[in-house]
């Protein structure tokens, strides 16, 4: 017994060679686009023939996957791989992907799907696979009318984007803008709307009257815009879903940029009374107008914060046009821009963390962002003339318009829509049929 105790004691006292767990901090990664394989959505012969009759589209599965692929590529965060390198057939890949094959072409995520015609309706199911982890990440199905197939592609992209980046997508959205035609001195301006990828373009007005500054409501599919009726500025309200339109009111003098409050119940704008431009709100239910600023300077371009507690606007009260933030009641006005040059068109990000603006400095126009206290100013793009930034609903991308310089004869003028993401890279022209200006991005259509 004693011997045992002695042995135990000895064992306990023996010096044991042990290692502390090694920890390595990984604080950097790459920001290069994630390689994604978008397999064409499989389709059975019967459904294929059915869709051919209804939509006149040869292979709807391939068309939907092309929409997804294009969206992912345009975002700049994904690198859709060439379909020629795919080794597995779409129908088999959708049932059981051979991950080794997809890994071989360096895909990190795989999208598969199946399209079918069920009771004259389009049914699309899709799956998102983690190729390296060898597991399914997401599986969803949608049923809709066949003519809605492009939207299905956008919704799939939104789901994939959210699952892989951690933030909501912005693909199932639309952009309203002013379509412009004709010479610069005699422009015809129509209100137009299109999907965020430039498809399904529609003109909403005939161009008889001048239209300006269309703005989507952050809460629904309502649009407010300014139009001149008998040379008087008139603010309109247009419901995109029903097509109904109503006049909010006629306003005297110069009226600018009506914009919705976050809940869509108010419109905030600036108009001039007695030669002094101030900021006003109008309650859409009872049409009561409330004055927010009262200052002898020019206060314009108001925009609410997403929680509705603050308003940002530009004013020349300091002598030069700068950006200010105040409480929604008009109290505690605080200047936030202090850089060189003139600042205008401030727009609060839907995420609430940043304010986008246009800056004019030494004859050049910049689109930039700054924090809501004015710190961290970053200029994203510079050009001869560009302005009116509008945020994507997830607060990652900005759309704005850019005009080109005319030559000495007044030729060569054009206005186009451009988009840029917060990194300042991935600057892209958004294709429109005509010249375009004053874009406004809708919230997600499913909301």
């Amino acid at each position: 017994m004693l011997f045992r105790y002695l042995l135990l004691l000895l064992l306990a006292l023996l010096p044991i060679k042990s290692f502390a767990l090694i920890e390595v901090d990984i604080t950097r990664g790459n920001l290069s686009p994630l390689p994604v394989a978008v397999s064409p959505l499989s389709i059975d012969v019967k459904s294929e023939e059915g869709f051919k009759k209804i939509l006149m589209i040869e292979n709807l599965g391939s068309e939907i996957s092309a929409v997804v692929e294009n969206n992912l590529k345009q975002s700049g965060l994904f690198n859709p791989l060439n379909k020629d390198a795919f080794l597995q057939k779409p129908d088999i890949a959708h049932l059981k992907p051979r991950f080794e094959d997809w890994n071989l072409i360096k895909a990190q995520a795989l999208i598969t799907g199946k399209v079918s015609l069920v009771d004259e309706k389009l049914r699309v199911e899709f799956r998102l696979w983690d190729v390296l982890g060898g597991k399914e990440m997401m599986a969803l199905a949608f049923t809709t009318v066949p003519s809605n197939w492009r939207r299905v592609g956008h919704i799939i992209t939104d789901k994939v984007y959210e699952r892989l980046t951690g933030e909501k997508g912005y693909f199932d959205t639309r952009i309203i803008y002013v379509a412009e035609e004709g010479p610069k001195t005699k422009r015809i301006k129509k209100l137009a709307i299109m999907d965020q990828d430039g498809f399904n373009n529609k003109f909403l007005t005939l161009g008889n009257e001048l239209v300006l500054t269309p703005r989507f409501s952050p809460a629904n599919q309502m649009v407010t815009y300014l139009s001149y009726f008998k040379n008087l500025p008139r603010v309109y309200l247009l419901d995109i879903e029903t097509g109904t339109q109503e006049v909010v009111g006629d306003f005297p003098g110069m009226t600018f940029a009506p914009r919705f409050s976050p809940n869509g119940k108010k419109i905030i704008m600036s108009f001039a009374q007695d030669g002094n431009s101030d900021i006003y709100t109008m309650d859409l239910e009872n049409r009561i107008v409330e004055r927010i600023t009262d200052h002898p300077s020019i206060d314009t371009s108001p925009s609410y914060s997403p929680n509705g507690k603050y308003i940002t606007f530009n004013s020349d009260r300091s002598g030069y046009q700068q950006i200010y933030v105040m409480e929604s009641s008009g109290k505690n006005v605080k200047r936030i821009s202090f850089g060189k040059g003139l600042y205008g068109t401030p727009v609060w990000s839907p995420r609430g963390d940043l304010i986008a603006f246009t800056k004019l400095h030494k004859g050049k126009f910049y689109i930039g962002v700054m924090r809501t206290d004015g710190t961290g100013e970053r200029l994203l793009t510079e050009n001869f003339y560009q302005e009116a930034p509008s945020w994507s609903p997830n607060g990652r991308v900005l759309i704005f318009y850019r005009e080109t310089k005319t030559n000495s004869k007044g030729e060569g003028f054009s206005a186009k829509l451009w988009s840029i993401d917060l990194t300042g890279y991935n600057e892209k022209m958004v294709d429109t049929e005509t010249d375009a200006s004053d874009p406004s991005w809708s919230s997600l259509l499913g909301n």
């Binding site: 004691l9 000895l10 950097r28 920001l31 859709p80 982890g133 951690g166 933030e167 498809f199």
Partner: protein, 269 residues
């Protein structure tokens, strides 16, 4: 009584002897001074006459050729004919209904898991024969970069590495490898805690036996949805990188290793 005292005395004596034997000054070895190496100081010119690793160049070219064959290039966006726009007039009073969009609303429904995921993949190592050449190239560049740091390591530091963590150049090599594999999800909220700790059990060749997310419970907490995306991206990076660039010796030291992925620095910047 006497017997007990004797036993107690004996045990205490034994304890004192063992403790004394394990004291460091008793087992201290004489300092092993390295032989003095004379170093000639030379002027560094702007250009070197030495050709840059011709063998490595060949390997790089071969690897690039192989990658060209296997890795597909970016597909150009498909040009689809745009449909002619329907010009819809919206006069002030008479308003036509442009489109009934309400019908368009989607009803997403969850698909039942028809297919059960086979776990063969998880058992197989992600051995990628096409990546070997590229890895060799990278390791050469890494070793060249880290030589300077190695030179600066003192004798004391070397001594510590024997029974502590990885040496600076070992750690740098591993970090550099994982930096290249980790695609940071850009949508993460940069003002939140973006630290994911992953514990790995490794084989001597650096391939992974087991990986475990240490704060797994955080995934299911409300408002922490982004953590799952972040953790998955870190796991993908490890799998993409394996076999990890680990030292060739001292397996016992690094067979268990913890990687702390922190995306905040990148996303804030």
């Amino acid at each position: 009584m006497n017997r007990n005292i004797t036993i107690s005395f004996g045990l205490h004596t034994l304890l004192v002897i063992i403790t004394a034997m394990s004291l460091p000054f008793l087992s201290k070895k004489p300092i092993d001074l390295p032989p003095i190496v004379s170093v000639e100081l030379i002027q560094i010119s702007d250009k070197t006459n030495i050709p840059f690793a011709p063998k490595a160049k060949k390997i790089i070219e071969k690897a690039k050729e192989k990658e060209k064959k296997l890795v597909s290039e970016q597909a150009p966006p498909k040009i689809i004919k745009k449909k002619k726009p329907d010009s819809v007039a919206l006069p002030d009073e008479k308003i036509e209904k442009v489109k009934k969009i309400k019908e368009d609303k989607q009803n997403p429904e969850k698909i039942d898991n028809e297919v059960k995921q086979v776990s063969e993949f998880e058992k197989d190592s992600l051995f990628d024969p096409n990546n070997i050449a590229a890895l060799i190239d990278k390791s050469k560049i890494e070793s060249a970069e880290t030589t300077d740091k190695l030179d600066k390591i003192t004798q004391d530091q070397y001594k510590n590495f024997d029974n502590k963590g990885l040496s600076l150049n070992e750690e740098d090599a591993l970090k550099a490898q994982i930096f290249g594999c980790w695609s940071i999800p850009l949508g993460l909220p940069y003002n939140k805690n973006l630290l994911v700790r992953i514990r790995l059990q490794l084989k001597p060749d650096g391939s992974i036996i087991r990986s475990e997310i240490l704060d797994h419970a955080r995934m299911n907490k409300p408002g922490q949805g982004f953590y799952k995306v972040l953790a998955e991206s870190a796991l993908r990076a490890i799998k993409l990188c394996q076999p990890l660039r680990v030292p060739t010796t001292g397996y016992e030291r690094w067979k268990d290793i913890q990687l702390n992925f922190d995306a905040r620095e990148m996303l804030e910047g």
